[in-house]
Symmetry: C2
Subunit: 301 residues, 2 copies
């Protein structure tokens, strides 16, 4: 499908892509770059890749597909380093969770003779780094492809096939739509989880041990989400700030309504609020996006 693929950034996502390419023999050659020596030596030690680079310019040489799987805030520097060495007609993609801001950067850099099509595999775990990657991470998961270069049909098809060969289902969507939908399904939940765990821990260490012991009543599920990679999330909140603030304000308005129903001890109002969310759970399970198996009763490994 591709002769040579370069992966820029080899954390949870990049190393999972690498493992899947190896396993499914998707490319003749794979090159990887990471700015961290520890990451590169892990990749080497595990025999995940023969062509390891600490120099981006060399890594991307003659690559047909370049995948940036690094924090959003590093894109500009990465693309500046590779700019003059890109193969003609290469496809440049990424795995970032926000699209519009990155697209502005790339357009301003005025890359020539390459095709920029962004990707967002909606896959991951609460862990980070190359040790936590695995080849099946993308199986049965959605990958959203966004591009403004709609005339480049062949390249878009090629990239779609690439993600499908990793096991993903592909959806093509505008960058605006992507950033709004993800602000609801991913960025808002993460903001709220981080804020909730921060509130529960508080500044008072007196109850810290109790909070940990009795966290199975709900809190522990939020700590899972609130333990994701901080750098990644910092960048997402900066790049998609407009959408995120909009949905956070909606959240706050809705929370004020809930507080009113609680303080007036309004049983009908509370019942209505707590009943309104049951249906969506069933639809999510039906859409194959979660398992129906109850998970609150889970036990220690």
């Amino acid at each position: 499908m591709f002769n040579r693929i370069s992966i820029i950034g080899c954390g949870l996502i990049g190393s999972s892509i690498l493992r899947a390419i190896n396993e499914k023999k998707i490319a003749n050659e794979v090159n990887v770059f990471d700015k961290s020596k520890e990451v590169l030596s892990f990749i080497k030690q595990e025999n995940l890749c023969k062509n390891i680079f600490n120099d981006i310019t060399k890594c991307i040489q003659d690559s047909d597909l370049i995948i940036i799987s690094a924090p959003l805030s590093s894109y500009k520097e990465i693309i500046l380093s590779m700019k003059s060495n890109l193969k003609k007609n290469a496809i440049l993609t990424d795995t970032g969770s926000v699209k519009k801001e990155v697209n502005k950067i790339i357009k301003n850099l005025n890359l020539k003779d390459i095709v920029w099509v962004s990707s967002h595999p909606i896959a991951g775990t609460e862990e980070s780094g190359p040790k936590s990657g695995f080849s099946k991470l993308f199986e049965n998961r959605w990958c959203i492809i966004s591009t403004e270069e709609e005339s480049k049909e062949d390249e878009i098809k090629k990239l779609k096939k690439f993600w499908e060969s990793l096991g993903s289902k592909v959806k093509i969507m505008s960058m605006e739509e992507h950033d709004y939908i993800l602000s609801l399904t991913s960025h808002l939940p993460h903001a709220i989880a981080y804020n909730l765990v921060r509130t529960a821990i508080g500044n008072d260490s007196k109850f810290r041990n109790d909070i940990i012991q009795y966290s199975a009543g709900g809190l522990r599920d939020f700590t899972r989400i609130a333990s994701s990679n901080p750098i990644m999330w910092r960048d997402i909140f900066i790049d998609n700030s407009e959408n995120i603030l909009k949905v956070l304000n909606k959240f706050s308005d809705s929370l004020e309504e809930l507080k009113k129903a609680i303080s007036s001890k309004n049983p009908e109002g509370l019942n209505k609020i707590f009943s309104s969310t049951k249906e969506i759970r069933k639809e999510i399970v039906k859409a194959g996006q979660d398992t129906a198996k109850p998970d609150f009763g889970r036990k220690k490994n």
Copy 2:
């Protein structure tokens, strides 16, 4: 340990207690009451209990231990029905998530010659009803016992042993402390999850399908919590309104800080917020309250 135990209310929790008592042969006899005919016929059909009652007065006759596992709002009616028929020196307990308000009700009813010691098994799933119960629900989970009758040491010990024989670890705590800690570890997370899912679904049906499809980015975990029993949660929010409003206000203050950091695109501020919650996750896993196994990558059953 007990000659006869009566279980009042046979949903997820009550039927799990019943199953565990049967399996571990904890009592010579078990009586069950539920106001729902469907529940009782399920219990009968599954051969979970021989002594099924639709009359509380008869159900509790000669019982040494009475366990109320019904919504908090039904306690008053339940206790009024059983009041004149309780066995002398019987232990009355419950499984409710809030203690102070219920305690007031019970004290006002002026029950004589019985020992009231409340229980709260911190166990459950997002499902409800007797079909979803299972005998191992309480294994390795905490059960908090609260009482003001501290002189009744023998009865407290007996109840402690009962929960331990179901596999639970028991902690004795004051009702005030219980209600505050649970407002942080359970009631706040549920309020936030319900509010989050309600915000994400919104009033706009245009994006509903997209929100379901791409929920694996975080939202799906909240829908799990937000699909718990609405009646149970309505009652918890009414009975523990004071603590819950206090922590919800803390949550809102903290959220305003986060919004400011987002709108000023402050990388250090955001990094600090997102890094502050990683440690607590590790402590929760260490305390055996969750598994360390990454769960975001989970697949369809």
